[in-house]
Symmetry: C2
Subunit: 353 residues, 2 copies
């Protein structure tokens, strides 16, 4: 039986694969002169962020102040919150965080966000680093043109309490040429205004091995690469064997030919499809399909498989998307060579604010 | 500003709507002689389960032993775990739970599951109630025919430590005629063997108001009805005004015409589509579309709306599926007449085992 010490469903992480994933990308970035700033949203574990720093990462990226606080408590002092911080409660918490962290930074994509940040930091005696977020094609946050980026960069420089650091984008995958052009144009417009930029931050796991194709980029924010997952295999970021995180699950019913029900549903695997067929990949059964999920049941189709598990058997399922799976479990279990080595609380789980 | 005391994203629950939802279905079931056994998977709160019992519910339904334990700790003593319990660790925990609960019950859909239960309870001095789970068309767990149901019922009676109570199904929605026929056939086959059944348990919110169309059913397990949600409006179970749970979120960016970014992503709303267009309904903006979610960002399309929110504005979003949203937040906030009344820890959140 797989991992007899563990009850299911639970998250099992192959630590040797994690170590290899972290090291391989750091080596790639070292080669190309890119600083790595791992995004902790994937693992939410100071334990793994420390490994990332130990091999050479510059600092960490968080999405939420609550996440950043967990990591500040654990001693991390170079933290970028890659998110527009809006509203009095969050600004107060950000200021409290910034007072304890050597290098606090955020992003902003509008005058409204900048004005709020400046109002919170102007008389604080603290300085907050700001990167202007640029929408280079992903269609989420970010200023819409290099002109707007230069405009906002100028505003950062004028506002008390803030220090302009550079530009940031969360790009569409495989869009390095566009990032290169966009950042270069914005840089030229800034230079024409006498504004200097130091940091050009891009990110994303899907096209991680193409980061060097946007040579202007000198910092890369990356989360999923630490565990990898089924959607990253499909994106070409890794092979199946690089996937370090899986959900360990028990077969609870085989009610009809080929239909296998497991105790991992959407509250273990999430409903994220990310363009995949089915909700995960069953390890060792390439033809099995995770057909549908209800909250506590996974409905698997083994019709195309030569052999069928029975009630009580355990399966490992690699999720489509590893990051939100981490967020569903209070603890995760690390293993080496198929044996449990240690368990960890997911310290920053559920830090939604 | 909506709920100025709360930071976003967070879950806001209109308690008057909850009370009305609970009472309306209880009244309907009283009228039709059906016992209500609410499924706590939706709210995970003893506070609301007590309300359900106070108006007449018979007991509660849980999916996981860990959930049942939270409710046993809170004094609930009539608990059905509507799940196949498989594996030594879970059987031991089930036995410990059964020792503290007046009326512990589970379901089973195979000899393998039954044999495990009996082995755990045979010499325990305890008796475990068992319902045979029947697949009446939903295609998840359950025996596949009335013949198999009778067969398994006979086995329950032969096994020490177990007490046969009846039949259970989680049916496809609007399938009451099939449930009626299926249960009736199984009952006749049981009677022919001298086996008496007491409980005929069905459930599900989508066709909740049609429960009486399967008159054989004398117990109804129901979860979502307490909050309702967007998919239940679509299913005809309720109106938009009955939806009691919403995610309160802040606009963090309006980077392009009609594109509104909020701080509620898939870690607040989940990726559950349940056949809906978009990931939720923005209250007060019927033409707004929750186009896509990343983990911490909701990307909303306001292109068809007459007015546009600005950065810092707050919106309420009714999720497609309320149950997994409860599972993402450590606490929820109850309100009355648009004002915060009290907050509660989600006691059974994350009890995945």
């Amino acid at each position: 039986m797989l991992y007899p010490e563990l009850d299911t469903p639970c998250v099992v992480i192959d630590e040797a694969k994690v170590d290899a994933n972290i090291e391989a990308f750091q080596r790639y970035c070292d080669l190309h002169g890119i600083q790595v700033r791992p995004h902790i949203k994937t693992h939410k574990l100071p334990y793994l962020a420390q490994k990332q720093l130990d091999v050479g990462a510059k600092g960490i990226t968080c999405q939420k102040i609550g996440e950043a606080k967990v990591f500040a408590d654990a001693g991390f002092d170079d933290i970028l919150i890659s998110y527009n911080i809006v509203g009095a409660a969050k600004l107060e918490r950000l200021r409290a965080l910034a007072a304890r962290v050597r290098s606090p930074a955020v992003v902003a994509d509008s005058a409204a966000v900048l004005d709020g940040l400046s109002a919170a930091f102007a008389d604080s005696g603290l300085s907050l680093d700001v990167l202007v977020e640029c929408d280079t094609g992903a269609g989420r946050c970010g200023v819409q043109s290099p002109e707007q980026a230069a405009e906002l960069a100028a505003r950062v420089q004028q506002l008390p309490g803030l220090r302009l650091r550079g530009l940031m984008t969360y790009p569409a995958a495989y869009n390095e040429a566009r990032v290169q052009q966009w950042f270069s144009e914005a840089t030229a417009l800034c230079e024409a205004r006498g504004i200097e930029l130091e940091v050009f931050s891009s990110g994303g796991t899907p096209s991680m091995w193409h980061a060097h194709e946007a040579p202007v980029v000198n910092e890369y924010r990356i989360g999923t690469y630490v565990y990898q997952d089924r959607s990253q295999v499909a994106a070409g970021a890794c092979g199946e064997d690089d996937c370090a995180l899986a959900v360990l699950t028990t077969v609870i019913s085989v009610p009809a030919p080929g239909r296998v029900i497991v105790d991992a549903g959407s509250k273990a695997l999430t409903s994220d499809l990310l363009g995949q067929d089915g909700y995960g990949q069953v390890v060792g059964y390439p033809a099995a399909r995770v057909r549908s999920l209800s909250e506590e049941h996974g409905i698997l189709d083994f019709g195309a498989c030569a052999s069928l598990p029975v009630v009580g058997d355990r399966l490992l399922i690699v999720p489509n998307h590893a990051c939100p799976v981490s967020n569903l479990f209070d603890e995760v279990h690390f293993c080496r060579d198929g044996k449990l080595s240690h368990s960890r609380q997911v310290d920053a789980r559920g830090k939604v604010r």
